[in-house]
Symmetry: C2
């Protein structure tokens, strides 16, 4: 410990919902361990809430509750922000950083939208801003990417970063449920909100993808550059068609480097995709999260664990609290935001991947030749074609998997196929990832 | 950057084998990125080797090679030790730390044997001693346990930390090879040394288990307290018997808390074990490593990736180099060794787990009753019994899986079974883990 190390650190918790309650529990129950691990006493000086009248878990000391969040921040050396939302969280964090307090937050929406402002404020005051809990709950992927891989070059990040959609897709895969039934079950179990939009439409995953991509590629990325597709239109037929070729459907957040018009850029996207059953991400079950990282030297790494839940998220928050407290004791500081690579966002149309298309077609001679010609006309090459499942009296079904092609080439191909008389219906188009 | 931050850091690499060469490559090829990420120039001032005459990869600057390792260490702010072995690595690291240099090492044997001495020396000089690469290569489990989970309580660590044995067991499982053939194949592919003893007998895994257990349980552990069993006696019959009950055989390093005679203690052990096919560790294939961590708040986490190889290991080394360089720039210091929990080693006999026993028995009435009575007499309870595979003319075979029992109760049970006339042979006894 420094000679000038503080004997105690004044800790403020902002927000006392599910995660806040567990963080308070951890701070109080593990006080002795935390002291050993940080070299200082973490003194919980207040818990900022919207209303002190709301009933709370018995672990929350009532006398520490306050509705004066601004005043609480002024009294703290270390602020833990667990309120969520943009304001007043943003203003309170900026106040804390400006006053020289360290900040730990789990607020992914805020970081995805205003990250650079917050990182700059932390740098200006030479204090820590930690946010492990903002991505994939307890899974230590932020530290993994930010610190462990700091000496390597990350080339791709493929993540299952939303537990709700993974649970729903897993139930559809393992138990044959349709989307609506699986969603209702997820809501019953508390894995999905009453309004599931942010999860099932992919916005939650997009915020996490934005944060991870910025870290992994040392570039500033914006959610506006992240094309997002949800899982609401995934059908049991999609799931079984994927199984026929040894794949499972997973909701993925993907960030990767690419090149477009000779310029190196960063493509970030969120959508359901077919993943080979043998890929480590395929075996991520239920509400678990996992992030698969490809790097030049390290090869492939995967971080796996609970992506949500009060206790799990509190583990990540408290890990950050210990790190921030240690830095105050030792006089250090976490790595600053690193945006030196400054890769521009690549247009979505430039992204290359493989596709699985399912078509209902007329059962007439020459249909395959006609379709193959239409696909080839756009420079897309076909990897496999197989007969799909359809009532023979109705016609035939085809399942086509392409080699890697650009989104723009695929879009043009699909537009063309749609005009062919032999094509009755394009049943589904899904990307194939993880090869 | 601090006002007093160094404009350059003098970096010395000790050892220039497979990993050393890749570290040199990374330091030189990524010099611009490393400068951006650390805020300082990493200046490679020398590469210490046994003989400068040995032919080297073209990436290694010949003019930086030196046989004067002591002199080199004196000229460095940051020493990267990749020589392996105990001496002179130990003396050189202690010299470096005493002189105020930061140290990054991949030397698991040295840490397992002399860790506390080294940690104390680093603390005394207030410099960093990092060793991510010592456990599971590129897999960032050291930082995960040391920092990410610093605010949580780890209850158990289950790891596949030796790629050689995982490759061999995977080949035996997936392709039906016997141990000798799989080992020869591993040697052909460079996954196993010409003398494979340290890997196949479990000593390499035991060193890693010792390091991980010390970190995870904030206690000093010694390799002397780690019972080790290798995989040389695992047969194809063991593999197929495991498959019959939905298990695969994995070589595991296990560290967990337990209680013995009313005293809380730490049990660390290394041995092959049956793991359910649905467990995340079961899907770790080939030479990959994975560490499964159970913690009170976080639940279960898994860290997965390449456990060996020059490039992968260099990724972990360079991540540590960046962290150490940043700390020199920012004036911080990594967490000190944390041995405050000081859990004593639990005697091996006190460890509780489940067992699978395979027995060749006489095919006579009452044999099961006699065996069940012998097992029950030691307080061991049977979970399942099933008929094993054996030529009916020779007699019968039984496969018994027990509920959790202590090693001592099992040993007594086995001794008793061995005396029964109906038991012709105890074919194998394997632990069952991961439930």
């Amino acid at each position: 410990m420094n000679d000038g190390a503080p004997a105690t650190l004044r800790v403020a918790v902002l927000g006392c919902g599910v995660v806040g309650t567990e963080v308070v529990r951890g701070l109080l129950d593990n006080a002795v361990e935390l002291r050993s691990r940080t070299g200082t006493q973490l003194d919980l000086v207040g818990i900022g809430v919207r209303s002190t009248a709301t009933p709370r878990d018995a672990v929350v000391p009532v006398d520490l509750l306050t509705e004066d969040l601004t005043g609480l921040v002024e009294r703290a050396d270390l602020v833990i922000e667990l309120m969520g939302g943009i304001e007043p969280a943003r203003a309170l964090i900026l106040d804390a950083l400006a006053a020289g307090a360290s900040v730990v937050t789990a607020n992914k929406a805020l970081l995805a939208q205003h990250g650079p402002t917050l990182y700059e404020a932390a740098d200006a005051s030479r204090v820590d801003l930690f946010y492990e809990a903002a991505v994939a709950g307890a899974v230590p992927v932020v530290r993994g990417v930010r610190e462990s891989l700091a000496g390597d070059k990350i080339t791709r990040v493929l993540g299952i970063v939303n537990g709700t959609t993974n649970y729903i897709l897993d139930e559809m895969t393992s138990n044959g449920l349709d989307f609506g039934t699986a969603l209702a079950q997820a809501q019953d179990l508390g894995y999905a909100e009453a309004d599931p939009t942010a999860d099932v439409e992919g916005f939650d995953a997009a915020a996490k993808a934005t944060i991870l991509a910025s870290l992994a590629f040392h570039s500033r990325t914006s959610m506006d550059d992240v094309p997002v597709q949800g899982i609401t239109s995934i059908t049991p037929e999609d799931i079984s068609a994927a199984a026929q070729t040894g794949h499972v459907i997973k909701m993925l957040a993907i960030a990767e480097q690419g090149e477009h018009d000779g310029i190196r850029g960063l493509a970030v996207r969120v959508h359901p995709a077919l993943v080979p059953e043998t890929h480590p991400l395929a075996s991520v079950r239920g509400p678990y999260n996992a992030v698969f990282v490809e790097a030049e030297a390290a090869g492939t790494l995967m971080f796996y664990g609970a992506g949500a839940g009060g206790a799990a998220t509190s583990s990540a928050v408290l890990g950050d609290v210990v790190a921030a407290a240690r830095d105050r004791v030792n006089g250090g500081k976490a790595p600053s935001e690193s945006a030196h690579a400054a890769l521009p966002a690549m247009p979505a149309q430039a992204v290359h991947t493989r596709y699985q298309m399912r078509l209902d077609v007329l059962d007439v001679p020459g249909v395959l030749a006609e379709i193959a010609a239409a696909v080839a006309a756009h420079g897309v090459s076909i990897e496999t074609v197989r007969q799909g499942v359809r009532d023979p009296e109705e016609g035939a079904a085809l399942m086509i998997v392409t080699h890697s092609a650009s989104e723009s080439a695929l879009a043009a191909t699909v537009a063309d196929l749609d005009t062919l008389d032999v094509v009755e219906r394009i049943t589904s188009i899904l990307r194939v990832e993880g090869n």
